[in-house]
Symmetry: C2
Subunit: 274 residues, 2 copies
């Protein structure tokens, strides 16, 4: 099974695929759009994309793409994020002058970088910074990236778990094209996107339908609509599936207040690691 | 009047301050936390921070800080974002090999960068990339930044408005310490943050209070609570102020479903530019 992710080998998405789909073949793409396009064009069987992180919040680009592209969610997966300082083999912490990584990883490890007296240098992504480090082969440089990158690029883990907030977890979803949604699937949780009509109170009237029909929302998010500044697409996750009568009635009740709705998928519930 | 912003002179926040507070003295700080701390410690009179962008969505760090720090919102301001390609004076587009900027600006201008056959290079921010370009003084390099940076750093605007989506607007808020909230203030709109109790349906029951009391929500957002993975702080903006009886009743009705609430401020309504 080929699984597409955004990034270079060793990225956190790659770490997540190896954790949850150990027999699959992870395939990295430069841009998130390419992950979706490779799926739609049949180059891969599954896409594996981050949706939200317990510290940073939403991964907006993927919310936007799941809404816009013809894909369906068939599962959710939690992946612990562990930032490691990687250097050339034999390097000591004292030698490190510059630390390369994605700005978010640099920020999450700011106290550690200050403590070793190094300079943070931004790069496009964590695993890419590790790969470039291996190519440049300069002993005064290090990268913040997953430990997997040490293995893949012949680097050494100089220090593990260097982030400030230790419990850092990303929730990913697995996406397929609609015709590849498995028939046998435990549809315990559903993700939905909708746009409300231009009328005061429309959003609250939509959300009221959930409590009216005894449905528990587990997540509520909004994203801007770039063509209509300061209008939003709302995303909800709830416990239940569209096969249930109360969910059908809820969606029917919402219909008079919305201009657009997309069922993003129903899938089994996962639990974040402790 | 001293106004704090995050970034170096010429950043979009600085552009916004010069647009809306032409007589003020803008003061740039490296980190968003420092903008809030300088305000709390009385170094500046006002903070000016981006909250949401019409393409990118929320500026999460500022939502988090407004919730955590002892500040109040006293106004909202819209600022058009216009990415320009800046180079050394006398440079032509054909000479440009590398374009430096914040990854978001690079992404928003990707087709333009490809069209001129240049390589995008990430930096921490747009104005910082322009300033560094002026220091390096290399004719093959350009930066994507506001036009104001050309003026401040002796650069030339090689091309204006190079982003893909032309209508790109950021909503900022002005913040002060609670004791500096003006007594005479048109309190037409209110921002609120709250955390719901751990019970199914609590979020919807809170939001129902708004429609029950005829209050129109203009924005609904959520942010993770890093200490409690996959729990959220919800942010709402609504039309009205806490001086109104229906708003007071709404807040009273919410109280049994929430564990925490913060009134972030009431302020006049602004309209985004056309």
């Amino acid at each position: 099974m080929n699984i597409a992710f955004q990034g270079v080998p060793g990225a956190n998405s790659d770490v997540g695929i190896r954790l949850h789909f150990p027999d699959a073949h992870p395939m990295g793409y430069d841009y998130s759009e390419q992950v979706f396009d490779s799926l739609v064009e049949g180059e891969v069987d599954l896409g594996f994309v981050p949706i939200e992180n317990s510290i940073m919040g939403n991964v907006d680009i993927n919310a936007d793409l799941i809404y816009r592209k013809p894909v369906a969610i068939i599962g959710e997966y939690y992946v612990p994020i562990r930032h490691c300082l990687l250097g050339l083999p034999g390097t000591s912490l004292q030698q490190i002058e510059r630390v390369y990584s994605h700005p978010v990883a640099l920020e999450q490890c700011r106290p550690f970088i200050q403590a070793i007296g190094a300079q943070p240098v931004p790069d496009f992504d964590t695993a890419g910074a590790a790969r470039a480090l291996a190519h440049r082969n300069h002993p005064g440089e290090a990268a913040i990236a997953p430990a997997l990158c040490a293995e893949l690029y012949g680097l050494e883990v100089l220090q593990e778990g260097i982030q400030q907030v230790k419990r850092n977890i990303t929730r990913f979803v697995a996406i397929v094209t609609p015709r590849n949604v498995p028939l046998e699937l435990d549809r315990a949780k559903t993700s939905l996107a909708f746009v409300t009509r231009h009328e005061p109170g429309a959003l609250v009237r939509c959300l009221e339908q959930f409590s009216l029909h005894g449905i528990n929302l587990t997540r509520l998010e909004s994203r801007p609509i770039p063509e209509n500044p300061f209008e939003y697409v709302f995303y909800v996750d709830f416990v239940g599936s569209t096969a249930q009568e109360n969910v059908r009635q809820c969606l029917a009740g919402m219909s008079q207040h919305i201009s657009l709705i997309k069922i993003l998928g129903s899938y089994p519930v996962a639990q974040p690691p402790r």
